[in-house]
Amino acid sequence: MKNRLSIIQIVPFASKIAVVISIIISITLIFAQGTHQGITFNFQLSSMSFLALFLGFIVVYPIIFLLIYLVVSILNRTFLKPK
């Protein structure tokens, strides 16, 4: 059984995953449109798309990071033995 990870290892790991997921969610968010058929995507870039992408990212990233950090910490404490 592997040794438990320390916070120094968990934070960069959780953060990198959170960056990737947040970018995907932000891109999804700015191209998503609510129609009567459900959520559809219109992949047309406009002048404000990058601003919207940035705003989406700064809102979503902290939430995703905290969620991943929480999950990894719980798994770490549950399944790995202390050093």
Binding site: G38, S46, S49, L55, I58, V59
Partner: protein, 254 residues
Amino acid sequence: MFDPFEKSTKKFLFWSLFFMLMIFMTFLFFHPKFYTDDRLQNLNYENISDDDIYRIVTEKLRPGDIILDEPVSYGSRYVYQQQFENIQNNKIIFFIYYNTFEFMIDSMGDGNYWHSFIYMGNNKMNSLAIKAVEEEMLSKHFTDNYYFIVLRPNVSDKSKDDAVNMANTNFDNQGIIYSFKNGLLIVFSRATGVTINPNIRENELVCSSYAASLYPELNFNGKDYRHVTPIDLFDEKITEIVLAKTRRGFYYEK
């Protein structure tokens, strides 16, 4: 031992600072703002039962009225939406959705109204929601679980009829879509006071700009209807308060 020059420690410091920078930017652009309005503060509120509120609301509402709402609480919003088939009925998704949405709404400092409807008559409310133009029934469930204000536009009866007809046409044709991107840009513009005037297409709106689009003759302080937020509808020059249910009680015109 904590060595700041070790590779893993450097990574930890970098990503911790990145996280803090993002939190800082989120609060820089979207920090909550408090809102008070003299028009709402000075109304003669009464404390009456939920049954009476529902009865009065159904009696006083007229087709063409605009309804702005906000949930009474986290729990009431959750209970209310259980009647619809929705992904937000998942407790974890609802927790994230509710808090993020409320955070964004609070950042505008616009009185925390979440959604705007137009009343169609026969207890039907029309609005632009995530699944495009929808109709929802005005039920006791709604008046129990939401704070709301009912605004009557200062326009002729013909204009109100036209607005209702246009809303019916939009519901049938489903030509208007809900744009998350435009919503984000409008909230940013209002929250920061930065005028960015995003180029919004006429069929890519959010709930308040949809309600504004139904009244082309109203002038929202010179603002394009596509950039309208709930508070632009709540202006004594263009609308009159007919009913209000707030934390202070219930107001209605006698």
